[in-house]
């Protein structure tokens, strides 16, 4: 039994998404993290276009273009400028060391695959088998948010999580209604702006982007 080419392409894109999510979890440098995020956006956009072609849903083309503009060009550019102005190009400190993080990541992938299996058997969409991948990449981005100490990688993790969710939406239900999609896109953009402002505030107050400083409530007397 062989599947149509578009279907194979969708599966391949799902795998690439997961691969990039893994690369992000293991990445130490902020700059590369941003490039990986842009790459993930590109994969997402291509995947949306392929789904649109396979299922003849023209509104998904629009969504693909939106993804391309927002997640491949605008957000990485914004983040790039941000880290340039904050002057933090180099290392990312992690709470747990990276091999352990990746072991946890593999466990998360197994959990996600197991969870998705009964759901995707019920679904009738052609993209159903990639639901597990989407779930796994959401969980991996979540893991990245938890294990990073600095604020910028956490925000990238958050944005990557949104990528995973978007992918899940495309694969499970052929995309959300246009209004919802536009709203989410705008939210993400505004969110990134607000995070940017927060970064400057955090750094001005604590002289560092380490969010551990936020745990102390009282000011020193």
């Amino acid at each position: 039994m062989t599947l149509p080419v578009t279907h194979q392409l969708i599966n391949l894109m799902a795998c690439l998404l997961l691969l990039i999510a893994f690369a992000m979890v293991s990445q130490r440098r902020i700059l590369r993290l941003i490039y990986l995020f842009a790459l993930q956006g590109l994969v997402l956009s291509v995947n949306t276009a392929v789904v649109a072609f396979a299922t003849h849903q023209p509104h998904l083309y629009f969504s693909a273009a939106l993804t391309l503009g927002l997640k491949v060009v605008a957000l990485p550019w914004l983040l790039h400028r941000l880290i340039d102005r904050l002057n933090i190009r180099w290392d990312v400190e992690t709470l747990i060391n990276i091999p352990t993080t990746m072991l946890v990541g593999i466990l998360l992938v197994i959990v996600a695959f197991n969870l998705a299996l009964p759901i995707s058997q019920l679904a009738g969409t052609i993209t159903r088998s990639s639901l597990g991948m989407a779930m796994a990449s959401v969980l991996l981005s979540f893991l990245m948010m938890i294990t990073r100490r600095k604020a910028v990688p956490q925000v990238i993790g958050f944005l990557a999580m949104e990528n995973g969710l978007f992918f899940a939406a495309t694969s499970a239900t052929y995309g959300m209604p246009m209004v919802v999609e536009l709203g989410i896109a705008l939210d993400v953009l505004v969110g990134a702006f607000i995070f940017g402002i927060f970064f400057f505030q955090i750094r001005e107050t604590f002289d560092s982007l380490d969010i551990h400083h936020l745990e102390k409530l009282k000011e020193k007397t």
Partner: protein, 317 residues
């Protein structure tokens, strides 16, 4: 018919053995170009090997027979390894005798010989290199096996020829799980062939060297054989990579007419692959030795992920 098989095997082995230094030369040339140097030329590895064969061998006083015998053993292992990998055709008489697991074993055997010989003379560099080589190998070997298991799951066989038959000569299917295995394999290729992120092949006297420290005590024909074996190892890995991930163009069993085309396709793949390897090496920096476990752990996990994906997607994976 039997003679035909034997001829195809002999031709392929000969071609691989003679071509191996050229592949190494091509990678070095590409690296030189990328670094704005003019480079030593494509045939430099042949010149080095020819020069070394003409010289007189110098062996340490306290070297045992093991030290003298190792170059031949290692060279033999590598020739055998490269004969098992289907480079041109899938009807190889050697292939049913050894599958990928035996291939990994062969590579391990060569490694053990090298490490023992490096420790034999008792110099500091030798034992240091041997320990580091074993350290890298102990992490790379399980990962390599895991990489092999994903294509083996797809084709229901661990024989490389069957894997190539399944992937290349049936209806074209994209296997997403192979993407993970391919990334893991490239990482392992870099680690196992003493390429840049793990070891620097261009250094001869540096505290961080691994491969060069192992063969530091050798000279003349022994060194020539070891250098040749090193080139053959790269060729073997390139062959495995081509067989697993880009098998199109390898002649099917009994198709003699496809052989010339297979040679051309193989050369083209090696040309592109060598250039890609040079680019990879140029853009990455050598990592600290204690980062190597992380690097290889990542390769291992990616290979496991490939298998998981295969199991999740079932026949589509």
């Amino acid at each position: 018919m039997n003679l035909g098989y034997l001829a195809s095997q002999l031709f392929q082995t000969l071609l691989a053995v003679l071509l191996a230094p050229l592949v190494l030369g091509w990678v070095n040339q590409c690296r030189a170009w990328l670094q704005n140097r003019s480079g030593p030329g494509l045939v430099q590895p042949y010149r080095v090997i020819a020069k070394l064969f003409r010289k007189d061998a110098v062996v340490a006083h306290n070297a045992s027979w093991l030290f003298r015998f190792t170059p031949y053993a290692v060279f033999g292992c590598m020739v055998l390894a490269v004969s098992i990998v289907p480079l041109l055709a899938t009807d190889l008489p050697f292939s049913p005798a050894a599958d990928v697991i035996a291939l990994v074993g062969l590579l391990a055997l060569a490694r053990v010989w090298m490490a023992l010989a490096a420790m034999d003379v008792g110099t500091a560099f030798g034992s240091l290199g041997a320990r580091r080589e074993m350290f890298v190998a102990s992490l790379a070997e399980p990962a390599l096996l895991m990489v092999f298991f994903t294509p083996a799951l797809i084709s229901q066989s661990t024989a490389l020829t069957t894997i190539v038959e399944t992937l290349a000569h049936r209806e074209l299917t994209l296997y997403p799980s192979l993407a993970f295995a391919a990334v893991a394999f490239v990482m392992l290729l870099l680690a196992e062939n003493a390429r840049i992120p793990v070891d620097n092949p261009a250094t001869h006297l540096e505290l961080t060297m691994i491969h060069e420290a192992l063969i530091l005590e050798y000279s003349a024909r022994h060194l020539a054989l070891l250098e040749w074996a090193h080139a053959l190892k790269l060729m073997t890995y390139a062959g495995i990579g081509i067989a697993l991930f880009l098998p199109w163009g390898i002649a099917a069993a009994g198709q003699w007419g496809a052989m010339p085309l297979a040679v051309v396709v193989l050369l083209a793949k090696l040309l592109v692959g060598g250039a890609a390897l040079a680019v990879l090496e140029t853009i990455s920096a050598k990592m600290r030795i204690f980062r190597v476990p992380e690097f290889l752990g990542m390769a291992f996990l990616l290979a496991v992920l490939g298998m998981l994906t295969r199991l999740l997607l079932g026949s589509a994976g």
